[in-house]
Symmetry: C3
């Protein structure tokens, strides 16, 4: 893509007449849009009847945009198969876990594993790639739209058959499956792969292995569909390919992006929890390392559908979202959607332009974004996000484990976000890193909520520690095998040996009166917990009250040049927050983390590095203003305004770009 | 019907033996019952096996009642088709939105659109009308019972076919449907009417047009069934026909009553929210103008079924319900039910007589009603409800729009009731008027919660204003087209031109910190809102804080002899209530509303007009007693007791009839 | 069984290898386990393919256990039919009330009424009984596992047919059914048994008779299955047979245990409501009079599954559970489960040994239990639970009535438990007695929440009263017939005559402002209530406010040597509790109840009687310690420690065994 920061929107010209299209182009230019995304729901327009594909309209749109200085991200329209595909064909439709067969009229209604779906999806994709793949305005591709946003695991007959094939590939013989899943339990035992059911209605719960593996099957299948689409496009186009994903969807993002060219996400977090928004940036930056990510969709004001609406952003918030995104590594900040829908089910959704062609309540904020984008673009393009020293592990596979085993309605996203939020508020620059990422460059790694630690992960983490890293493990980490069963040699498997502890007991601490003490703070303990007898490790946190007084819930072992820290339980309540904050800062000190800022919570510093100088982009995200301590004098590279070393105050939703004379 | 006030009950003699029947008649006379309603669930008694219809029993009952001075309202028994209709015929049954096929054993289990249902319903109705239509005791008819009380839109195959026919009739060509509904969105596009689905299970939401139109289809179909039934009855009987309906059911009451002769409703509101009860009276009076309505069902004490029970009325409350109803225009006040059920699923439901033939806890209250009825009858019969000057628009079509688009679980009935309650508590005499009503005679019209304003309505409202009326429009009014899409020329369509405003933005104000100020009160704003730039209008209320400071949320335009007032948002909280009360009273003053009373909230005045004199019936509804200011001296027409001009105090659940010497 | 107290666990050797099995046996001996229960889910292990039954493994296990001094309770494995039974046979599966057909992979997935299930279940049971029935280690049998724990009434085609047969047997002619159920209501009327539906989806509610009778059908059928299993076992084994049941399951426990040899139950009550736990002991002691009951399953620490976990027991609580159980008449106290599951859906469930072969957090508590068991064993074996003087009626048939008619989400178990808890806290020794129990030996009987009083029950209760007992009847008792309809001659049927009252009204008192006064306490009244005019009775409690002032809600009639007390309503709130406590103690005095203790709430006294001496086992259940007044000096039979007459203090979770010199 180009050497610029993109500012764009999703556009549906196929829904409007020529007059509106012309008006839209004009307004886009006024608003500073330099990229639009088109086509993701337009299958019925492109192929109104089966086999009759006509892409003239979209070719014309890409060219028209290009003529007006606007680049295009083209989409494949596969989330919405037309009526000729669906009508009279219940066997092609998605089936939910209640075994209800989906009908036409919404989206994601087809089973994406059905062979005929794959065939027709490949055909339309090939035609689009051929027609549009080399147009000068085309700068990128998006496959489909928000995979598995509204659906999760399909229960149709096609999936049943493919599930059996997938199992056979994974386990080779059904006997290995039986052994891996422990199917002698409850007489589940299978004699052939054909007998293994989907996790449909049963009187109580399914075997954990079956539930988790069916999710993995589903996540692998949708990624394979994405792979197929990408391979077709690449035959006819050199433009890079992405998908607009989210942590909220039933996909394995790491696997999904493996075969894509750049990462992008959609977010509709509300203004009152900026951490929900920021987490995405700190995560998506790491799905395709070294390549900027895109925010492909966010609302200029509020998300909404017929059934609900979110709180609109206060004035000023959109700008800081955009500045924070660009500063944290985004190449693009794009809206859903350009022009408010006149029909369908998303009419009330926030947009840039209204159905009647006028600026929306978000429009003034879009102009603010555009102004900020122009001001910071040169600085951003001349620098790169500074390598973080602190990392936190992220795993969509863990999300599947927790969906199978939610303990007490635990929600993976909520757990991860609140752990992340602590690191954020302490002023530590951080990466959220997918499970499979390399760990070189980090000093401190947090790995909470990862029930299954793969041997590959264990090797990388061990090497990381051996070379001087500090690895904080838990809570809820390590207690399950790849197959979602328990270890039979130690509660936390091989992790215990590495951590130099023996897990004495595991049990749910909620309601047990357990109190843990560490760093001179005593706090209630919660969640499913492990308590340790330190072996090569030493106890840092000890249980003082409850069922297991005297045992450790927090241990530390020096290993090679680094340390392994086991956090067996979750301190909770006000005291628990204090304890966790102390823990984080203690190990940040221990690990020699220097990339941190004295900044008030609610304001963030995004550090970037240029050619022998550092830049800080400071952004007040919570609307309350903030204070940051500058370690040196700096200047605003645009205005030349000077900032003195020491305390700097920011106003409500204010941002500042501070370029330092050299490296910090 | 007769020149009397009716006091009656629903009776099920087919469930009891002759001894009980005789006892019932005797007890009815003791209790003062002068009308009973019979037959609505008795199909299996009338036609035990298919085609063998015998109405001897019911003929005898009507005659027996008549001999005992009790009139009869006869029902058609179509809510409960017998087992010979249902057994082995799933294709004749109602199918809910989860696609579950209903079974036998409850009621409303059949699809009322199935041709065979219509055929058998017509046959039994014809037989009943022939047998009973000219009996001397018969004074009226009720068709079926509580249409769509337990069900809403049927999803069966019959309905699918008729839906296609209905669409074809409405849109003529599928291309017009596609255009009207904007079906290029999400590739919904249809090539034939046969492809248009019912709004069954989908992964996300259906197109708003499809959801709303399916509701309209369903409401039209059930009304047509009612029309058919009425037409059959009229061949054999001159007695007037009604249906016992409710604002809670999935029907378009205005359409339903169009072909019926008089209006009636069922209500089971509890004593702690008298407005829920009173709204029905102020609404049903207006479905068949100039003809008194009936309360066909209410409990003498409490509603109940196996699954729940309501709080019983305190002693005294039933009497004020009845007095208020008669005073507000009811011709009849009838109970469900006379004798407590011994079987079925409504055994715990309040009744007049117990299963074992004794007075229930409600019986003493029934006697109170009867005494009051006798006392006020002459006065009521000599007067008519005084024409209200204030009206509020009611639309079941809007109810359908809000079911499709509930924003945040908005409930049409709740919204309407709380708006109504403000007018009630301010002592303004009022009508709730169906959308299609003539507006002549009113001075002030409120039209909140009407997403779609028909051109017909717009014409009538415009004329109303031109001739001097004040029309207060909104909130949530005017922003949708007939097809439940957005306008494309202005947020509120043609309404804006008439109102002399331009809607600058529409967005949800909840959580946005928006504050609106008007009449010297500043209040938080809420709900989906429109903010205006006054053109020919002037700003009366201005947004002071939030996203759009300086724009108007309340405007006023003089038009012809009257005014159009736009209320773009909903003031909320304590201050919001104050603001709305001020708004209502301000425009009542402005419109010259004189039919109002200085009465404490919880007590109502029902004004009636006789031959050159006015009567007030004052009723304490909340059990706390109340105070009303009399504008003149008056007398009680029964006791001759004199009331002096000025403050008059009422006790708990007390009512007074005050006849003034002349017109007020 | 043996002359000992059992202490055991459920064991699943079929899921583990030989090394683990050996380790388990060793650890069991260390933990003091003297009995294990095996086999209840092992069908696929015993009969891996259809007809190929091999029980070698289980024979070996029973022998191995025996060699190690551990007795065995053998189970039939019928809750989990193997895949060869289920795969491709939806017609054999359980169908829930939403008509969803259950799949393989959990448990209770088959319809237990399907003839082929019965055939295969009989075959495997016969083989097991033949192979294991006379092994020296075998001391008992358990049929299946937790009947109807996850499912309730099956809606499959097999059940439909058998339902019709059952109805025909019950009613002989469909006309009698129509009459009994009052099916003329809502035109439900049936012409043949074949037309009577199952209570599947309908728009509103089913007829109460149909709902309740379908539950009775289901409860009878599962009991018949149990009978069949027991009969097969008895052909080959003399060991006594039980089932591990619960008040929470959809079974009629009284009927179920009728053909079994001893009673046992499972309980997972948490420590914070000891009454939930204790009720089971006071109830199960009475299902097989004169034969000790078993606690077949309880957790050593916490119940859990993938989807939830309970609060773990604090240290010390398990021991008092066990001591209380043995003291109250349990012969066995057994855990679920011995070794934590490595697979399936119950991995997080509390156990004695972890998946990795180490003691769990519950293990130290198991050792405490074992020590206590050894200490008290001789005393327990030399004594029997003292016959209670106070009884409270228990009826699973009533549970079915309340499921059909929950009024306002009333829960039978909750109602019964809180009534029981009052008696418990007042220090009265008590039995919870199944509906059909003989009443000889009791002085005071409470019968709340029994909507239907059978004539058999009425006879026994009348005789009980005539001979000097005090019978407290209500609330919610007597108002329904056997068919779940209302009486037609009196609100409470024949009960009224016996009680010497006329029920004037029945109605729901919640929200009615009703206040009842008795024993100098005025309290709000609640629940569906009956108010009386005393005839031969006298008013003890009178309604002071609400709808029915002056009528009685509590009456008393002397009858024969005893009294009948009618409690027509439920006093509620703090004052209601006081009133109920006074009522209970008043009638305990009146009835001459002597078996009571001055003991603080939260601590219990379990009285036992030996050969001319009494023993009290005093147990602090709530962890707060307690005080009990000893009527005489006593000694600890193990330590010889002396206790002086008067106040005795117990510490947290302390228990004491006090043997008195003679009978008290």
């Amino acid at each position: 893509m180009g050497n610029k920061l993109y500012h764009g929107a999703a556009w549906y010209p196929e829904l409007w007449n020529e007059t509106v299209i012309e008006q839209d182009i004009e307004l886009m230019k006024q608003a500073g849009m330099n990229v639009v995304r088109i086509g993701e729901f337009a299958w019925s327009n492109m192929e109104p009847t089966e086999g009759n594909i006509d892409l003239t309209f979209f070719v014309r749109m890409v060219n028209l945009l290009h003529e007006n200085g606007i680049d295009t991200v083209m989409c494949t329209p596969t989330p919405t198969p037309p009526i000729w595909f669906t009508h009279g064909h219940p066997e092609r439709m998605y089936v939910n876990e209640q075994l209800q067969v989906m009908g036409h009229g919404s989206r994601q209604h087809a089973c994406t594993n059905h062979p005929y779906f794959r065939e027709k999806a490949a055909a339309i994709t090939k035609h689009i790639a051929q027609a549009i793949g080399r147009l000068p305005g085309l700068i990128g591709w998006q496959i489909d739209n928000e995979f598995k946003a509204h659906v999760s695991e399909c229960m149709c007959g096609t999936c049943l058959t493919q599930w059996h094939d997938w199992l056979e590939e994974r386990y080779e013989t059904v006997e290995k499956l039986n052994e891996a899943w422990g199917t002698q339990i409850w007489s589940e035992y299978y004699h052939s792969f054909e007998q293994v059911p989907q996790p449909g209605p049963v009187p109580f719960l399914h075997n954990s292995s079956l539930s988790t593996m069916y999710q993995q099957f589903s996540m692998e299948k949708i990624a394979q569909f994405s792979d197929e689409q990408a391979a077709i496009i690449r035959q006819f186009s050199d433009a890079p390919i992405t998908h607009n994903s989210s942590v909220a969807f039933s996909v394995d993002n790491e696997r999904l992006f493996r075969e894509l060219d750049f990462a992008s996400f959609d977010t509709y977090a509300t203004y009152d929890h900026p951490a929900n928004y920021l987490l995405n940036n700190d995560l998506w930056r790491n799905f395709k390392r070294g390549r900027d990510y895109w925010i492909m969709e966010t609302s200029p004001s509020h998300a909404a559908s017929l059934a609900s609406y979110a709180k609109p952003h206060p004035n000023g918030y959109l700008k800081v979202e955009a500045v924070a995104a660009y500063a944290l590594g985004a190449e693009a900040f794009c809206y859903w959607l350009w022009r408010q829908q006149r029909a369908g089910c998303e009419q009330p959704h926030g947009s840039v332009i209204s159905t009647w062609g006028k600026p929306t309540v978000g429009f003034p904020n879009v102009l603010e974004v555009e102004q900020a984008r122009k001001e910071i673009e040169a600085t951003i393009l001349a620098t790169r996000p500074t390598q973080a020293e602190v990392a936190m592990t992220y795993s969509d596979r863990s999300k599947a484990f927790l969906k199978t085993e939610p303990h007490q309605k635990l929600n993976h996203r909520g757990l991860v976000t609140s752990f992340y939020e602590r690191i954020l508020h302490l002023g530590l620059h951080r990466d959220i890193v997918p499970e499979g990422s390399e760990l070189a460059g980090y000093k401190l790694l947090f790995t909470p909520f990862l029930p299954y630690i793969s041997s590959d992960f264990m090797e990388r983490a061990t090497a990381f520690v051996a070379e001087g890293g500090v690895w904080v493990v838990g809570p809820l980490t390590g207690g399950r095998t790849e197959e979602h069963t328990l270890h039979t040699h130690a509660a936390l498997g091989d992790l215990e040996q590495l951590a130099g502890v023996e897990t004495i007991y595991t049990f749910p601490m909620d309601g047990s009166g357990s109190i843990g003490s560490a760093f001179d703070i005593a706090a209630p303990l919660s969640l499913w917990s492990a308590v340790f007898q330190p072996k090569e490790a030493i106890a840092i946190g000890t249980v003082e009250a409850g069922l297991t007084p005297g045992l450790a819930f927090l241990t530390e072992r020096t290993y090679g040049q680094g340390k392994i820290v086991m956090l067996g339980s979750m301190p909770t309540g006000e005291k628990g927050e204090l304890l966790l904050n102390k823990l984080i800062m203690h190990y940040a000190d221990d690990a020699g983390v220097t990339l941190r800022t004295d900044v008030s919570a609610g304001t963030i510093v995004a550090p970037r590095r240029g050619d022998r100088y550092d830049v800080w982009i400071v952004v007040n995200m919570d609307g309350n203003g903030g204070i940051v301590t500058l370690p040196q004098d700096g200047i605003d590279p645009v205005t030349g305004m000077k900032y003195r070393e020491g305390k700097l105050t920011l106003g409500r939703y204010e941002h500042k770009v501070i370029q330092f004379a050299g490296l910090l």
